[in-house]
Every structure is written in structure tokens, then in C-alpha cells.
Symmetry: C2
Subunit: 436 residues, 2 copies
Amino acid sequence: MRLVVIGGVAAGMSAAARARRTDRSLEITVLEKGNAVSYGACGLPYYLEGRVPSLEALVSYPAEHFRQERDIDVRTGSQAVAIRHPERKVILENGERVPYDRLVLATGAKPHPGLIAGGAAPHVFTLQTLDDARRIQQFLEARKPAAAAIVGAGYIGLEVAEVLRAAGVGQVTVFEASANVLGRQDHELTDLVRRQLERFRIELRAETRIAPLDDVRADMVVVAAGFRPSVKLAEDAGIELGRTGAIRVTDRMETNLHGVYAAGDCTETQHLVTGRPVWLPLGTTANKTGRVAGANAAGARERFPGVCGTSIVRVCGLSIGLTGLSECQAHKEGFDAVSARIQGLDKPGYFDGRPVSIQLVADRRSRRLLGACITAEAGIWGDPGVSGRTGIAATAIARGMCVDEMEHLDLPYAPPFAPVWDPMLIAARETAKLLD
Amino acid sequence: MRLVVIGGVAAGMSAAARARRTDRSLEITVLEKGNAVSYGACGLPYYLEGRVPSLEALVSYPAEHFRQERDIDVRTGSQAVAIRHPERKVILENGERVPYDRLVLATGAKPHPGLIAGGAAPHVFTLQTLDDARRIQQFLEARKPAAAAIVGAGYIGLEVAEVLRAAGVGQVTVFEASANVLGRQDHELTDLVRRQLERFRIELRAETRIAPLDDVRADMVVVAAGFRPSVKLAEDAGIELGRTGAIRVTDRMETNLHGVYAAGDCTETQHLVTGRPVWLPLGTTANKTGRVAGANAAGARERFPGVCGTSIVRVCGLSIGLTGLSECQAHKEGFDAVSARIQGLDKPGYFDGRPVSIQLVADRRSRRLLGACITAEAGIWGDPGVSGRTGIAATAIARGMCVDEMEHLDLPYAPPFAPVWDPMLIAARETAKLLD
């Protein structure tokens, strides 16, 4: 039995590794168009920041490891150009045909080609691969740009803006086509982020659609917007896409073609709040769905339940944790949503308790928690309190918990850790009050 | 309508304040035998540590605040000695009779009298009240004791041991009657704590039953063991106790006497894992049950669902979060329990990720999470990562989540906050493997 995996970053290598553990006799081949596999792309901004000592530190395992230790035939520099499913063959750019019995597509996502029409220009960058990071680093060192334009105020755009500013770029402007940052329809959050960026002299221009080679007066442009799932290969092979434009999969991560699975940023997943398919490309989901796809492709039966839309980001020292829906998004999804925001302390005042802001969104009818936005100022390290409380909200959402029940959650309390009324409990209580 | 609350610390003042918000016309009287109300007893060790600048900083609101701002008649120095329920009267030590229509008992807990038989001795202490802390502080300054004995290795005993050692007491010994620390039947945890204490030259003597005036060679003795619910007043009035020895209450916090409620350390609560009553006196539960008792006594209808047995403590720089049952406790409760322990990093290695240890306990039959023990070295501040992950486990336990579902929880990921596979997810996966 031959398993071929197309794409060797997070989802692809998770699938291959899991398939190997599921079936030791499987022949496994990974086709990766780039020259590295299994790297933590989410760490790239922190390489530019100087925190990650080398790009090699972002590589979980080198290709050699998979070849020698796990008997996985990893082929870097191998661009798949077609899938002939009736013949069970993947066609490579060099004409080679790679046969398979089972196939996992992990082709990822990339910015819309229109946005990087000027991508050949030496001052226009994306930040997806180790090579991208290397190019930006070299450009920064050699050219010392005075002004930079970032296209897109998603988490990559905001992280890169901060990094460039810290690297001494005097004028950094973030252009965002929508009215909101971080893909969250939440104007309060957008205002908060805007103010934080301004403190670091980074300008946010929302509702400003821009192509990188428009007349932007900048010495460098980083395109971190307009990402779309890479689905051409799939589409050409007759694999169905969902209404999000990403590959539609079952909860076993199988496509409409029997024996062909897909995982990671090229697929849509089910949103646990709305029950509808969404396209939310994130590293952690890529790893999880890759594992499930790999297990099932190798003969196991596992399912991926879906996502809550959880994300977390550090923006100029502000920690922002998000999960579920914003109030605006909840209304658009048909919920009769209310939200409450509280300011609390993450520990007792006498234990250096610091402010944390929690907004919860709940459904008036079912009293269920629909979403949470948790923020705190925390410096460069990221605030694990924001992370922990976001995780608590995500766990509650996954189980359809009511805010009344959340108010009585038995969360840990001791002075070095939390106040006797954890801010999560206070936020749940204030939200529940709005429902009475 | 007259509401009388007996006891004015966490549960009592929560009940009184909530009753006031529920019914503005209620006459509310709080009878407190001590001279202060509404203080954070959990902060007392941190006062001795020097972190809390003054004992006043531990008082949430002074008695005056309740009198003037909330129209609550707070009577300090008022010891209730009997309840005459047929006449609806509380009898005070001075003979005064205080009439009530509704009553809330929040009489707390105290060490077993046998344990503090020598309590009159000037070198024997407990640490429950502001006065207790003041006495210890004065004794430390005036007498500079060279050797201290702590009776009890619960969280108060361990916190006090650390504080005394840091205050320069050369020889600190913790005596514990049971085989385990922190009231958790978990010998691995006990070994871990023992080693941590030893690094700070604190000796732990488990399975050593001791009364403070036994021939312990110590210049001071702190009794932090043998706590029992203070139920004499209730018992004498015909209020039923549960099998734990604490007051039995409904989920409305009502006792067997109509109109008489109880809350806090004098009551038992339902354990959400076993469904059985337990006596787990903790400040956070006291606040929650006090609020529910106060609301219901004032005519609302609220319920308290129960507890997971969550606690967290910092012991000599080790952060320990516990929730649910240990494997041993789970077996005793009749579960076919398994447990897995993993060592992970709380963030990526390149982001100064530090070791965190997670042990999960699951039920083989239902695959439900039954308990968690999370530990990390984190210095004096307490590790919010331990706190957050303990809260995630507590939320999962409250909802009877399976470890398989936990493995796919949509927890937040970004390099400043967590690794792409949060250690909670890895622990859930390793535990699930044991069930197959």
C-alpha cells in the first residue's frame, strides 16, 4: 500500500508521521515543492525579531530524520502539477509519475496572485517560508529601509509590523482592506489594536485596499493578506471545494474522491459554534487535521470535531486571545447575541495583579457562550494568563456551556495565581445578567 | 423580612452582599465573632512573607463600608451561641436575642480542638485570622525562633513552612498524619513536593501524627491540620450534617430547616466527578456558595452545581495545580482509572519554553477525564500557565469531557504563548492511548 502526501510543512508531515505510526508497512512518500519540511512557519516573525537564533531552529525535524528514522521518503524540490486519480498517479513538474493508493493533500495557502503581481520586485515580500524570512532579513540588513508597507492586518501582518518597527524601520504602515483587524468583526478590538500600534508609531489604515505596487511610498512591502487555499491541483482532479473555496472534507478529512484525504490550510473545517464550514488556516489546526488525515489514510478511523476559531497574538506587547464569534459575527450568524466586557485583575492587587480585559458573547435564547476576547498588556513574553483564559473559554464553547454554568466553574485560586473571583467568572456573571 | 448571617468572612459577607442586591428592602444583620469582616484569609501567608504591605490590604471592605454603603448591620465581636429556630432567634454570648426570618450559617472551619490543646501556649499558632497573622509576625520578630514545627502538609502548612524558612527560621519541619501532601492521594506528587521542600531545607515527615505539645523540639508550632467544619451551632439547632461531618445542603444551599441556609467552609458540596458529597473548604467555593445562599435567602432561585476539587498552590517555587481525582482516589471511588504523565514545554523552545508536567487521569469505561495534576517550576510569582491549564482541565471535567475530545480542543497557539501542540493536548492524547 502506497501513501503519497503532497506538501511537507505542518499538515503534510503530521499526516505522514501519523500514518507511519498507524501502519509500519505502508510505503510513504512526501512531495514538497520547497527545500525544507516540517518547519514552524509561525515562528518566522520571531526569527526576524532576533529571538530565534537561526532558521534551522524552526525546523522540527530535518528531511533526513523522516527518511532515516521513520522510513518516509521525503522529496523536497518536488512540485506536483497534476493528480490523475483514475490512474492513482501524481504528476510532477519534471514529468515523473508517482503512484499512490491513498493520497493526502496538504497544499496549504498562499496570497492571491493579484496581490503579489509585483512579487518579482526585489522589495516585495511574503512571509511563508524559511526562504522568505531569509530574503527579508538580508534586505533589512543590506538596505536599511526607512519606510515599510504591510498589506494585511491579520496576525502575520501585525507581527511583521512590530518586528520591522523594532528593527529600526522608521515608518511602518499597515494597510487593511476590511474595517477590522485579525479577521474579527469587532470594532472595539480594532480600536484597541490601532491605539496600541500608534504607541509604537505604527500606522493602521483600515478599509484601504491596496496592491503592493500601487503608488505606495515604501522601501519595502510585505504582503500578508489575501491568502487563499491552494486548491488548483485538487480542483483540476475533480475534488470538490466547499462554499469557502477550500477543499470540502468529511470529519475523517476525506475528500469526495475515495482514498483521497486533505488537511491543513487547503481545507475547510466545521465551526463548533455555528456548525457551518469555515476556512480558518492556522498552524495548530493544520497539525491536528494532518494527524487525523494520516491516521485514516493508513486505515484507522478517527474524526476531527472542528474548531472554535481560537487564536492568540502578541501585538506590540498587547496579548490578544480570541475564540468563538465576536458579537457582530454572532449576529450575522443569526444568534440573538449579547456581550459584556469586564476589566479585572489577573491576580490579587497585593500580588502584583495586572489588568486583564475579558469580553464574552452569549446567545440570549440558549444562554450558551458564543465567543470571547481576552486582552492584557504583557510585554514581549506574551501573557500566559490570556492564553489560559482563552483556552478555558474555548473548552466551554466546544461543549456548548452556558454562561450561568461558567459563572460557577471551579477554576483554581491562590494569591500567586488568580484572584478569588477569577475575571473569567466575573465576566460570565456579567454576561448572564444581560440575559435575565 | 429579616435576614441574619452568622459569620462575616468570605461566605458570610458574600451572602449578605448578594442578598442586599437581590432585595433592597431586606433587613440584613451579620454576626461576626471576630473583629474584622470580609478579609482574604488566603493572603495571610503572603503577609508573613512580606509581600502584603499590611493586614488591612487583605480586607476587601471594612465593616463600615457594609454599614454605610450597603445598609448591612455588621456586628463584629458578636458570638452566636445558639439558634432557636422555632422562635426564629439567634442567641448571642451576651444573652441578646437576634430575630430572623431567614438565616445563613457561614461559621467556617477550625482545627480539631484536641490538636490545639496547647493553643494557649504562646508559641503555638494557627493561621486563620488577621490576629493570628499579627501574633505570628510579632513572635518571629521578637523571638527569632531557630526551629519551627508545622502540623499539617495541606496548602496552608506548606505555604507557612516556606514563609518561615524564608524568614530565617533555620529548621522547619512539616508533620503530616497521612501518607500524602495537599490532601491528594498521590504518592508521586508527595515525592515531588518532598524533594522541592528538601531543596529549601524543609523536612517533610509524613505518616507522623503529632499534637503540638508533644515532645516536638521546636521554638514555635503552627497548627495547620485537623480542620473540621464548625457545626456545633447548627447541630444543636437540629440542622442535619452529611456523612462528611459538614452541614448538608441542597443545591440551593438550604439546610433541612426551611429558610435556614448555609455556605462556605461549614458545608459540604457535591463533587462533580463522583456525584457524592465532599468537604473541600476553599476560599473560592466559600465565595460562590455564599452568593448562592444569599440570593436564595433573599428570594431568588439559584443553584450551586458543585466542585471539581480544584486547587492550586505555590510550594517553594513549584506551581502545583490540581483538579478532579488522583488515580488512587479514582480507584477508591470505583472508577477503572488510568493515568498518563507527560513532560512538555509551555512555549516553543526558542521562546524560552519551560518544562511543565501534566498528569491526566481518565476512566477506562467512559473515557472521561477524571482528574489532572499540573506542575512547573516558576519562582515566587506562580506560573499562570499552570493555572490556565488547570482551569482548562476543570472546565473539561465539569462537562464530563472525554480525553479523545480534549485531544482536539482548539486551544490558543502562537509562539509567545504556547507550543503548536499544547502540553494539555499531548497529555490528553497519551491518556487516550492507554484506553485503546
